[in-house]
Homo-oligomer: 141 residues x 4
Amino acid sequence: MPDPDDAVLHLRVRFAETDQMGIAHHAVYPVWMEAGRVEWLRAHGLSYRSIEDSGVSLAVSGLEVRFRRSARFDDAIAVHTRLVEARSRRMRFVYRLLNEDDGGLIATGSSEHVPTDREGRALRLPEAWLRPIAALVERPD
Amino acid sequence: MPDPDDAVLHLRVRFAETDQMGIAHHAVYPVWMEAGRVEWLRAHGLSYRSIEDSGVSLAVSGLEVRFRRSARFDDAIAVHTRLVEARSRRMRFVYRLLNEDDGGLIATGSSEHVPTDREGRALRLPEAWLRPIAALVERPD
Amino acid sequence: MPDPDDAVLHLRVRFAETDQMGIAHHAVYPVWMEAGRVEWLRAHGLSYRSIEDSGVSLAVSGLEVRFRRSARFDDAIAVHTRLVEARSRRMRFVYRLLNEDDGGLIATGSSEHVPTDREGRALRLPEAWLRPIAALVERPD
Amino acid sequence: MPDPDDAVLHLRVRFAETDQMGIAHHAVYPVWMEAGRVEWLRAHGLSYRSIEDSGVSLAVSGLEVRFRRSARFDDAIAVHTRLVEARSRRMRFVYRLLNEDDGGLIATGSSEHVPTDREGRALRLPEAWLRPIAALVERPD
């Protein structure tokens, strides 16, 4: 069992990610959530690059974000990822984004995924991937 | 009453918007929805630039996207925007993204907004903006 | 000979493309130049999608941008593209970005390309693409 | 004198940064160079956030990138930044991007900057910023 802290992605808000409101643009959050998901897989001994290289993609079928507080340029952000559902045809992750300076909640979110082949056709996630992934499902709060 | 078709944003999927799955990356959809919202305002005689210039922003407080079918490089996409709620402290838009070649549904989505000042503090939307905007609320399907 | 005006890409600066300086972020200009290049090809009866579908990519090997004047949210921008060199192993485009309201010059730029296969290996551009493209070379000013 | 290694930004190629060629899209490199510049300033005891907060921006006036080798999803990249010119009205940084696995050169680049005020008007960089920055100029190779 890896230290759960290893599964946290630490990032800094890039200047390019801000908008003219002076905050991180909302469309950047799904990018951070995706990077958090990749880091979570790595921390659990799974590589999203290997999954892709084997011809399977986890296409995003649904996305939800609740924005609680702004993030600003150069803020240190922690992306906490949890897998809450893993079936052969559907997977769901939830996310909590925290400001690392004061621990304040920036945003929560979730993403749903369907396994697909290289042509984008839905398929059953091969057992070789499903078994180790399903073992990592946590209950949502 | 403007022709509702004027409120539709027409765009082409940019090469930079694709990812290595060969499709438009999911984080681009909120960018298209935002551009659709700006076009919708313009078509109804309202300018988001003017709203911003008056010191009011419509910060995004919530975001949801359901992905139905992939969009590919150079696909022509139509973003249909509707305002479904407009109160002084909360606004909600819904979106339908269609492939212009065959009319197929690419994605649906919604966004929630809170009016804020330049420092990001929530405020009541000034009447001068609220009245014309509230007059444009449509019922969701 | 197509009307050269058809080869001009017209776009509006998206909100997501601004940064906290209140202007379009500089990394967006290469995206606009790329979209201009795709439009230029289309206007000349060539489709970058078809080139890609045939297994050939025009990988970017060099990029240069001079920023003359800021572009702001919702500004209408015209991207003028010209091909100034086309050989079997190297192609070069130059760009002029104008503010459509007053015709002012926003930026100039250039991009260099090498034809590659799907694995990214350099190759000679097939004659079927090179001949029609080479016929479109214009002298730089 | 800080360890020069502290001035190196380490990043991983995000999935969202890839394109349908299966490589990091070329417009992402200026974003990485900017993040490298911010890290370089931090490593030398300077904060770009503080410079911005004082009302001074280092607007990008020129940009150049030479792409040597592709970067792929999840590749570990090191961005080496050097300041090669610092005057009150002009600054120039150069960059080397390396693949951290094999040390291979991914890209080289440069960026030119002019100090501006919040309205985007060019100004002389205040002595309080110029002096510590000018002390860090290195000769290009």
